[in-house]
Symmetry: C2
Subunit: 416 residues, 2 copies
């Protein structure tokens, strides 16, 4: 066994069986892929890190001592992570909460949070000796895998619902990935991809199934802790599809807590779209948690998931944190995209703005207090899906004549 393998093990989220890292590839053989997603657990006493080595603007690899990867193995060339955490005192004041922050991941190489996971998956593919990697995705995981793998010699296969936004689909082709557009839902694309991947012997970057993705994603939470100078916020609010990102937020803080770098773990609030709130439904039914599948329908394509793959972990982690799940309507989501853009300059894709929509909804119910510090995670760039905001666009071209343009402007000013 190579030395670093002793530093971490894999544990089933349901039956708690513990496996060596080279013993199991994806999920617990006893509990199956729905109930048996794995956690990466560490021997925290053996991990030597201290606060001073972390930087507010560095990339995800600054956390490599707390990641399940080999020293010296492949690292993505493009800068993943090190994304900004912005404070908005005016918004906090408007909503009468203590402090409000936005962790904005739209500036990642392929413009979404998913780059954190794809970076890890690519490293693991190399470590494990695969030559092909694949995923099923509504778009962001796919473009992220395609983009970050583009400069490598890995073959990339992407299974995606043919209905994904054109910007996301275009990214795949431009990166030279092999694209298989499925005439069906994300859930159908996912299931068929798993079978193909197994038959072909490809490495899976499928959400939740691959235990290392969450470890990549947890770096977002770790950055929040570093950027807040090791002060833990009261709440972190984030959109939920498969449940892996929300779980990763917990895990990032959990690892730091176990390493005595922070004094606690924030309450994690997961926000779902009303038309695809299968994780919330499972959570609200209570323990023992069980998947509650449903047909998914929401404008927020990145979280349009009816059969969430990390539902057990998401429910358990959110519960442990003292948090819960909320759902918001498509109308609330789209209005949040606009309001967030206008008030912060951050143009989020719909799935990225759900955190803001959820925050507003809870705040209207009087949930937060003047003492609360809240972090909203905005997971993707609005440029990924401009179609979603077409309703705000109004183009009535005017000829470039001075008097006509003056009239046009007068008309605009009167309308206000």
């Amino acid at each position: 066994m190579r030395w670093w393998l002793s530093l971490y093990k894999l544990r089933c989220i349901s039956c708690k069986s513990i496996y060596d890292a080279d013993e199991v590839e994806y999920t617990c053989p006893k509990c199956g892929p729905r109930f048996g997603t794995l956690e990466v657990i560490y021997d925290y006493d053996e991990i030597k890190v201290n606060k001073e080595e972390f930087d507010k603007n560095s990339d995800i690899w600054q956390f490599e001592g707390i990641l399940p990867i080999e020293r010296g193995s492949y690292r993505t060339k493009l800068k993943v992570g090190g994304t900004p955490l912005y404070e908005f005192p005016d918004i906090a004041e408007k909503f009468k909460v203590g402090r409000l922050f936005v962790k904005y991941d739209g500036g990642n190489p392929t413009a979404s949070y998913k780059d954190r996971a794809s970076a890890l998956a690519i490293t693991k593919a190399y470590e494990k000796g695969y030559d092909t990697i694949y995923c099923a995705s509504t778009g962001n995981a796919a473009s992220s895998l395609a983009g970050l793998a583009a400069p490598t010699d890995l073959n990339v296969y992407i299974f995606l619902p043919a209905s994904a936004p054109i910007a996301k689909i275009s990214q795949l082709f431009i990166y030279g990935a092999n694209v298989i557009p499925i005439d069906g839902s994300y859930d159908q694309a996912f299931d068929v991809s798993m079978k193909i991947g197994e038959m072909k012997g490809w490495y899976s970057r499928n959400s939740a199934i691959n235990p290392y993705l969450l470890e990549g994603k947890k770096t977002g939470a770790m950055e929040i802790a570093v950027q807040l100078d090791w002060n833990v916020p009261d709440y972190v609010i984030v959109g939920v599809g498969d449940g892996t990102v929300v779980s990763s937020i917990y895990k990032g803080f959990y690892d730091f807590y176990k390493l005595n770098l922070i004094g606690g773990i924030p309450k994690i609030i997961g926000i779902q779209a009303e038309g695809a709130d299968a994780v919330k439904r499972a959570f609200d039914r209570g323990e023992p948690f069980e998947p509650v599948d449903m047909p998914a329908r929401t404008i927020a394509d990145s979280i349009s998931v009816g059969k969430p793959r990390d539902v057990i972990k998401a429910c358990k982690y959110v519960k442990k944190s003292g948090g819960f799940f909320v759902s918001v309507s498509d109308e609330e989501i789209i209005r949040s995209v606009k309001e967030l853009s206008e008030s912060t300059g951050i143009f989020a894709e719909p799935a990225g703005a759900v955190s803001y929509a959820g925050f507003k909804k809870l705040n209207e119910e009087g949930f937060f207090t003047k003492n609360d510090t809240i972090v909203l995670v905005v997971t993707g760039n609005g440029l990924k899906d401009v179609k979603a905001i077409e309703r705000f666009v109004e183009i009535n071209p005017v000829k470039p004549k001075l008097d006509l343009v003056m009239d046009y402007i007068d008309g605009m000013e009167k309308k206000k």
Copy 2:
């Protein structure tokens, strides 16, 4: 006079008249807007900076001691600049050049280099007491102004050609800017905006006209110097529309050179689209430089400029650097978008990929040697204009049945 005004003055690029900062707003009254764009000149002996205070990942405001702004005035909330400089040894090897770097600005808040200029313009609008700011733009300057001004109380008016890519137009509306879609070219939108702006008493963020924009843009060059550990590359290659970005690259290195922070200035090579190469034409005719206007037609909308506004400065600066201009076809541009994406994972908009197209063209002519260090500036994110790459997208949906998908994959593999 306030103390900081003594640190810099404005000088006409043509007649060399020198003005105090509060004496002239935009261009030299004697030479007019085409010949009389202004340079910001400093008393370098009075500027106290040293190498140690600069960071490879910080934002543009780390250079505030070398920017024409007041201490303590408005600074953009969102992180502008601090964008990555990537080295690609494999590409350098493939093309038999020394070292090849890409400065990628697509991760800026509104996903383009223009954020650097808009940030300065907003600061100056506040310092000068304006309540409204405007620009004419093919898209990037506009979305950047709209996005960075969104969280401020400035009113924003945008004049843009109604033919701009929908992603760029959508950004404007989502940020709540007042959009005036002009049924005409960028050049027509520009001219009418100048008249309206003057009549209304608004502050102009129009390219080249406003001398401070270039000062914001020069931070890109300064970052390159910092990121290369103060080693100056042999060549910096960048796309050219109005001529302000290419001028700013020179100015950034020039300022650092005058401050004794670097030992020289790289040769600057400006790349234009063949259908809009008015700056190249002016340059090639030689001194004294004069504008050579033309109808503009290129797929690279951000540099689709027939009447460039900074042509004199661009020609003079590029000449002083020992560089020159090259033009490339739309076909070369689009192929460069694809090649750059596939080989680096950087998905550039067409105007961003022209630097790579120009590099390849020159290299095919045997221009570069094995000793040359070359930096390509990629100015904008490909998500800004996915329509431009539609030709690479091929969607033939397949039903989510195992055998059908297997056949589909076999078909893909055979085609290779």
